[in-house]
C-alpha cells in the first residue's frame, strides 16, 4: 500500500499553521486540542484552537459512559462547532487524546474530522508559535445523531466476539498484555483485579504505529505491522482495546482511516472493565491463547 486509505483525514502542521494565521479565510475550520495533561493547552496552544477535554468534556461524570447526545450538541455549540464544520484534532502523546476525541465525534456522527499529523510534538519541533489567548468562538448550531454503535463495542458483544474466535487487538504495553503488570499501586481507578489479556487477542502495542516526531508511520509500515505480521484482515470484524479505551482509539483510527479496514470497533470499557468483571475469560503470558510457547506467536492464532 503506497498511500493511506484516506489521505485527507490527516492534515499537516503547515496547513494548520496557515489556517491559524488566517482564520477568516477558513471560517468552516475549528482546531481542537485534546491532551492527557490539560495544563498544556493553558501553557500554550495553536493560535485559535479550542480545548475539548476527554475527562471533563467528553465523559459523563456520573455514569461510566460518554456524555449523552444533548450534552454533546451543547458542547459543540459552545466550542463553535456546527454540523458542517471541519474539525481538526491534535494533542499531546502522539495524538492519543486527539484520536479519542475524533472517535467520540464519529460516535455522534460528525462528518468532517481530521487529525493534525504529529500533534503538539511536531508543532513544537518545528518551532511554530503557541498562544495563551482565551479563545471564545461564535456559537455553533448542532444536531447530533444517536451513538453510532458500529464503531463502539460493549462488553457482552466483545465476549461473543471472543467466543467466536474473531480478531481482537490488544494495544497495551507487553507487560500489561502478559499480565506481569497487574495494576498500578495506589491507582485504583485505573487498575484491575486481574492481569493478562482477552484470549485470542494479538498484541500490537500502540507506539508501533507512530514515529519519534509523533506522526503516523507510513502506509507501507502500518500495512506490514497490522496486515502482514499481525494477520488482521480488512473486511473482518475487529475489536481493539487497551486499558480505558484511549490508546485503542488511536489504533482504531489507524486501522479504519489509514489502512481502510471496514469494520473496526473500539472497546472503550477495555481492560479496566474486563479485568474487573466476574467470569470474563483471561489468559496470561505472551501468546494470544496463553500457551507457554507458540512458534506463530507474532502472527496470532485468531
Amino acid at each position: 500500500m503506497a498511500s493511506y486509505a484516506n489521505e485527507d483525514v490527516l492534515v499537516s502542521t503547515e496547513w494548520v499553521a496557515s489556517v491559524a494565521a488566517n482564520p477568516e479565510a477558513h471560517p468552516n475550520v475549528r482546531i481542537v486540542e485534546s491532551d492527557e495533561d490539560r495544563a498544556l493547552y493553558t501553557q500554550g496552544h495553536v493560535p485559535g484552537a479550542v480545548e475539548i477535554d476527554w475527562q471533563v468534556d467528553l465523559q459523563d461524570a456520573t455514569w461510566r459512559d460518554y456524555i449523552d447526545r444533548a450534552a454533546f450538541e451543547d458542547l459543540c455549540r459552545r466550542k463553535g462547532i456546527s454540523n458542517d464544520t471541519t474539525v481538526v484534532f491534535y494533542g499531546d502523546k502522539s495524538n492519543w487524546w486527539a484520536c479519542y476525541a475524533f472517535w467520540t465525534f464519529k460516535l455522534y456522527g460528525h462528518a468532517d474530522c481530521r487529525i493534525m499529523n504529529g500533534g503538539r510534538k511536531k508543532w513544537a519541533l518545528e518551532g511554530r508559535p503557541w498562544s495563551t489567548d482565551r479563545v471564545d468562538p461564535p456559537q455553533g448550531t448542532y444536531t447530533a445523531t444517536e451513538q453510532d454503535m458500529s464503531i463502539r463495542a460493549l462488553r457482552d458483544e466483545v465476549l461473543k466476539h471472543q467466543k467466536a474466535g474473531k480478531p481482537l487487538v490488544d494495544v497495551r504495553s507487553p507487560e500489561e498484555y502478559s499480565g506481569e503488570r497487574l495494576h498500578m499501586p495506589d491507582y485504583p481507578n485505573e487498575g484491575s483485579l486481574r492481569g493478562g489479556h482477552i484470549p485470542g487477542a494479538i498484541s500490537i502495542p500502540w507506539p508501533l504505529s507512530v514515529n519519534e516526531d509523533g506522526t503516523f508511520k507510513s502506509a507501507k509500515d502500518l500495512e506490514k505491522l497490522y496486515v502482514k505480521e499481525g494477520k488482521l484482515r480488512r473486511r473482518a470484524a475487529t475489536v481493539a482495546y487497551c486499558r480505558i479505551g484511549e490508546r485503542s482509539s488511536l489504533t482504531w483510527f489507524v486501522l479504519t482511516y489509514l489502512l481502510g479496514f471496514s469494520n473496526v470497533k473500539n472497546y472503550d470499557g477495555s481492560w479496566l472493565e474486563w479485568g474487573n468483571a466476574v467470569r470474563m475469560p483471561i489468559v496470561k503470558g505472551t501468546t494470544p491463547d496463553g500457551s507457554p510457547t507458540a512458534p506463530d506467536a507474532a502472527s496470532g492464532s485468531v
Binding site: 492527557e36 490539560r38 495544563a39 471533563v56 495506589d186 485505573e190
Partner: protein, 146 residues
Amino acid sequence: MSTVAERLDEIVDDFADLDGREKLEMLLEYAAMLPPLPPGHAGLDENRVHECQSPVFIQVELRPSEDGQPGIYLQAEVAEEAPTVRGFVAVLAKAFAGRPADEVLAVNDTLLDRLGLSEVLGMLRTRGLRAIIEYVKRGVVRSLAH
C-alpha cells in the same frame, strides 16, 4: 515559621476565587518554581513515582531546617509534558519545606477538593495527584526510619 496546615490554607485561598482556566494558570506558575533534584538523582528508580504515567521522580529528604529542627524537603524531576503534576508537586514542596514530618503526615487527600482542582481535572487525574500525596507520605515515613 508557619505550619504546613497554615501554608496550605493560604494556598487554598489563592486558588479560591479563580475559574478553571485561572487555576491551571496558577498551577503553571507553581510548576516553574519546582525545586529540581540534585545532579545525579534524576532518573533513579528509588525516586520514581510509579503511579504516574509520565516520568516523575520525587526525593523526600529529612534535614535540619532554618530553626535547626529536622524538616521535610521535596525535590523533584517531572517531565515537561506533565505541567499539572509539576505544579502540584511544587505546591507540596512549598507547603512542606522545612516542616516536621508529623505535619506532612497529617495532610489528607481532601486538599485537591479544597484547591478546586477535582472538577477542573476530572476523576482519573485527581486520583493520580492523590497518589502523589500518598507517595510523599510514604517517603516521609521512610526518611524517619533512616
